[in-house]
């Protein structure tokens, strides 16, 4: 079950983007603000942002779709990011990812059926001297193993 895509009103969206309109190069800060508010960049936001910045909807959509961070639908209740980069591979990161994905029954970028966990790949958290690295809802984990990640996800779910 994926969380339903939020349907903010035009006024809701205008309120969120307003503080950023006078910044230089406002689009990325705006998209981050929108995602912080609704957990994703809802389709409804694209024309509102485009109008506010005097861009075409295609241009805004092009930016949203370019960056890995921006979602079309909200993630699960928890986001588990597993590092796939070389330093983590050197310490068994690949086997760890396979074990975690297998146990949760998802592929990269997918959310578990109960909507609890979204697993995403990340290419380097800067924790390369204590690999393999992971992040559970913004909390960093070094020398990660499947048991510790399970415990952290369970802790967050409680």
């Amino acid at each position: 079950m994926r969380h339903a895509v939020p349907q903010p009103t035009v006024d809701d969206i205008r309120e969120v983007i307003a503080p950023h309109l006078d910044r230089e190069g406002p689009l990325l800060p705006i998209l981050h603000a929108v995602q912080a508010a609704w957990g994703c960049v809802p389709d409804a936001a694209v024309p509102v942002i485009a109008e506010a910045l005097n861009l075409s909807r295609a241009e805004v959509h092009g930016v949203v779709s370019f960056y890995h961070d921006f979602r079309e639908a909200p993630a699960g209740r928890h986001v588990l990011r597993l590092c796939r980069a070389e330093a983590c591979q050197a310490m068994g990161g690949k086997a760890l990812s396979e074990a975690v994905l297998g146990k949760l029954g998802v592929s990269w970028g997918e959310t578990t059926a109960d909507g609890a966990v979204t697993v995403e790949p990340v290419y380097c958290l800067g924790l390369c001297a204590c690999a393999p690295a992971a992040m559970v809802d913004g909390r960093v984990v070094g020398r990660a193993d499947a048991a510790r990640l399970d415990a952290l996800l369970a802790e967050g779910a409680a």
Binding site: G25, H32, A85, A90, C124, L125, G126, C128, A129, R143
Partner: protein
């Protein structure tokens, strides 16, 4: 009693928060008056969380600490005792110029920063003309620490002499190279150092606005940098009248959005402007037409963070370290499968083998070292046969590698080199901005070709070699242009894993 527990995210990832909580609880239970301060990391990641306790004015280390060690650390009886931190071999052997304060001070304390030499470089720069500032950087021999190694002073000179009503200093804090964490470490451990470096750059080239384009993968660094900028602004280090000089410089953090290619400077500038992070053709150079079409200095975090010490101690002091045309110090980041991983700042010139075996202590698994990837995901794999190569720009280039971001990722003998070569192509395919064909299509074909090789088609090796040549020569930026480095170096070092031995045996 003063105690330090690092707030660096590597320390946190290894349990620093829990250790800090345990120390506080234990001290309260015993009625001890302790002040728990949060520093950055010293860079000895294998000892994290590294607790430091002040005893007679000297900081003694305990690590790697666990919450259960709290009681023994407070009574001074812990078996994790390491002695005075500054005397540890790892610390004593370093030349800490850029990272002198990292792990020592509390990152968000401007008083602590000033007490350890901070702002003296900026004060000196405020007495100098723009030309003198740029000359000082040129004389230091500082080269871009992000990978390309371009002389920083020359870049600044181009921006200084460009005519425009507005110029920018952009700090590239989006170099998400695996095996490198120096940027993150200094932003979390000594953020004012980067601020000071950017302010000096602003004075040197006549820019009043700076941006730190920071990866979204570093939430702790984003928080520390943002708070440090607010503190610096409130204290008059940034703003319309820096340190009462009448000169202006201000800056802000811009958060990236998970695109690796935005570590490439022109793609970063597009992203900063709110566009897709697509690479721009050069010329025009960003120094002439950069952010918002204006002359822009784009420097890596470590390049800018090395500027304050150059102005504090003088260009010659900095240039006196190093070898050949690689002047000053370089923060080596030793990572991956390594017994003692961490950051070690030293003059250029240390042989690769000394770094891997002497500093790193070999692999964490205790197995033989098979290969070291130097410089990040776009760096070459080097084997033990090349361990006498000195760590320098020209020296590594001569060995078929590159300094890159000075990260070294160590692999033991279980590493699957064909798999790693395939990963390099896959990563390039995922992260390609799509602007140029050799990278966009080449990386996908590279994955397919490596799969053919893995399936036993050794005739595909020639195709792979040809493809890599096309990517090297035809790509617009370093992503497509350097992906062949890990691929071809893996093939050169371990041809038997790419099926050439199988062919010979048949």
């Amino acid at each position: 009693m003063r105690i330090w527990v690092p707030m660096d995210s590597a320390a946190k990832a290894l349990g620093a928060e829990e250790v800090a909580l345990a120390l506080r609880a234990e001290a309260e239970a015993r009625g001890l008056e302790v002040e728990i301060l949060r520093n950055g990391t010293r860079g000895m990641i294998w000892l994290e969380p590294l607790v430091e306790v002040e005893i007679d004015g000297t900081r003694h280390g305990y690590g790697p600490a666990e919450p259960a060690d709290a009681g023994a650390i407070l009574s001074g009886e812990s078996d994790k005792a390491l002695g005075p931190v500054e005397s540890l071999d790892w610390m004593a052997r370093q030349t800490r110029l850029t990272f002198a304060r990292c792990g020592v001070i509390e990152p968000l304390s401007l008083e602590s920063y000033e007490a350890h030499g901070g702002l003296s470089g900026l004060r000196r720069a405020l007495q100098m003309s723009d030309e003198e500032i740029v000359t000082e950087v040129k004389d230091s021999g500082l080269r871009g620490r992000g990978g390309a190694g371009f002389p920083t002073g020359i870049k600044w000179e181009t921006v200084r002499t460009a005519k425009a009503y507005r110029k920018y200093i952009v700090c590239n804090a989006d170099e998400g190279d695996s095996g490198t964490f120096a940027d993150r470490m200094i932003m979390e451990g000594d953020p004012f150092c980067l601020i000071e470096g950017m302010a000096i750059a602003g004075l040197g080239v006549g820019a009043v606005q700076g941006y730190v384009y920071l990866r979204s993968e570093y939430p702790d660094a984003i928080e520390v940098m943002t708070r440090a900028i607010e503190t610096a602004r409130a204290a008059g280090v940034l703003g319309a009248d820096i340190l009462g000089s009448g000169r202006a410089f201000d800056m802000e953090v811009r958060v990236g959005a998970g695109a690796y290619v935005c570590g490439e400077e022109t793609s970063l500038l597009n992203s900063l402007e709110g566009k897709r992070g697509v690479v721009r053709a050069k010329p025009p150079l960003p120094a002439i037409e950069g952010a918002f079409g204006k002359p822009t200095v784009v420097n890596n975090v470590i390049s800018l963070a090395s500027v304050p010490v150059i102005f504090e101690k003088g260009a010659q002091h900095y240039a006196d370290f190093g070898l050949g045309r690689s002047r000053g110090t370089i923060p080596l980041q030793i990572a991956g499968n390594v017994a003692r991983g961490g950051l070690f700042e030293t003059a250029f010139g240390m042989p690769l083998g000394e770094i891997v075996e002497g500093l790193g202590g070999g692999t964490a698994t205790g197995r033989p070292v098979k290969a070291v990837q130097v410089g990040g995901p776009l760096g070459a794999y080097l084997g033990p046969g090349q361990f006498d190569t000195p760590f320098g720009y020209e020296e590594l280039d001569g060995a078929g590698g590159l300094v890159g971001h000075a990260g070294l990722v160590i692999f033991d003998d279980t590493a699957d080199m064909l798999g790693l070569a395939r990963f390099a192509m896959e990563f390039c395919a995922v992260e390609s901005c799509g602007k140029c064909t050799p990278c966009r299509i080449g990386a996908v074909r590279g994955v397919e070709t490596l799969d053919r090789i893995a399936a036993g088609d050794s005739a595909a090796i020639e195709l792979l070699t040809d493809l890599c040549e096309t990517m090297t020569d035809g790509s617009l930026c370093a992503l497509g242009g350097l992906t062949p480095y890990p691929v071809m170096s893996a093939l050169r070092l371990f041809p038997e894993e790419f099926g050439t031995a199988r062919e010979a045996a048949e």
